[in-house]
């Protein structure tokens, strides 16, 4: 592989390398599992009810992961842009039907890592068990912070923090999706925006 031509896998390997150091052979083993997928804007990577087969790494584009309730109300659990993982982890890892939906908000290019192959991967290269331990550990902490915010911070402040923490995302995704992430209606978000101007 010419060092001046970045590998197809550059982004995902860099992501893994943040937490564990792989040998070239281990990198090859890993990348051999990855399935590339191109998803058009507004198309679905996964719909609630389907079997969730993959953990998804976003190479380019943007994906929202959301839960729908009985009345069709959607709550965004996560936005994933370049360099982020997304999935219905609960379903993929337990081989249960998805309860979440993953939709591309832009033309999006991802790597799909088949969940079925994870056990074999852990067995062959224990560093991956470490990698995913760290991924879930960080994910757990992140979800816990978000829950804390939801429990004790008013919507106006949650919105201000979201803007500060993800300035890019605030531009990139529709207001109604941000509202859904914050747990408020688009109408109320619009009012908050006017106030904070």
């Amino acid at each position: 592989m010419n060092s001046e031509i970045p590998s197809l896998y550059a982004a995902i390997l860099a992501n893994v390398a943040r937490d564990v150091t792989l040998t070239p052979a281990e990198e090859a083993l890993f990348t051999a599992l990855l399935l590339p997928q191109q998803v058009a804007r507004y198309d679905y990577l996964l719909q609630a009810g389907q079997a969730a087969h993959y953990l998804t790494f976003v190479n380019q584009g943007c994906v929202r992961t959301y839960a729908s309730d009985a009345h069709g109300k959607e709550s965004v659990l996560a936005f994933a842009v370049e360099g982020w993982w997304c999935a219905d982890f609960a379903s993929a890892l337990a081989r249960a039907p998805a309860t979440l939906t993953l939709q591309a908000l832009e033309d999006t290019q991802v790597w799909q890592l088949p969940a079925e192959q994870l056990e074999a991967l852990y067995a062959q290269v224990p560093k991956f068990e470490r990698f995913f331990r760290l991924l879930f550990q960080q994910g757990f902490v992140h979800q816990q912070r978000r829950l804390t915010d939801q429990l004790q911070v008013p919507a106006a402040v949650r919105f201000a923090r979201f803007r500060r923490q993800y300035p890019r995302l605030s531009q990139r995704v529709a207001q109604r999706h941000i509202a859904s992430y914050l747990g408020i209606t688009p109408e109320f978000l619009s009012m908050l925006r006017k106030r904070q101007a």
Copy 2:
């Protein structure tokens, strides 16, 4: 160890055994790290601002983990009874000052696993990396579910679910702590109780 006399470590070893199978030598290695601690009702295992040194396994009793905001409002993130782990994981694992507080709600007996020793433990017995991968994986999924509920389910329904899901706990801990877990005021919880009678 006489098989008729359950080991001091029976509960915690059973908990680990749910996810990984240890040899007697590995069990010994693990239990050698554990520090027993007895905490009186209403005493603290950890207070916000302190260094968080341990992951805590509850042997007997009940611990609440909560976050306090600037106005002193407390939000319960988790209750841990016999057989559950609790900690300010974010702080213990990053060696940062605690942001959460852990308080015993009853006379409580725990095992403290020093976070500093985790890396060495993973290196010696990779099964523990697997164990904690699974612990955080499950924790992540659980937090995500709770967040989803918080985002889209009204308080009355959250309360009904809590009662159904944790009938024991509903008896065991004070209403105000349940209110705090649900993200509502004790007054409002009291009203919900009257309605649902």
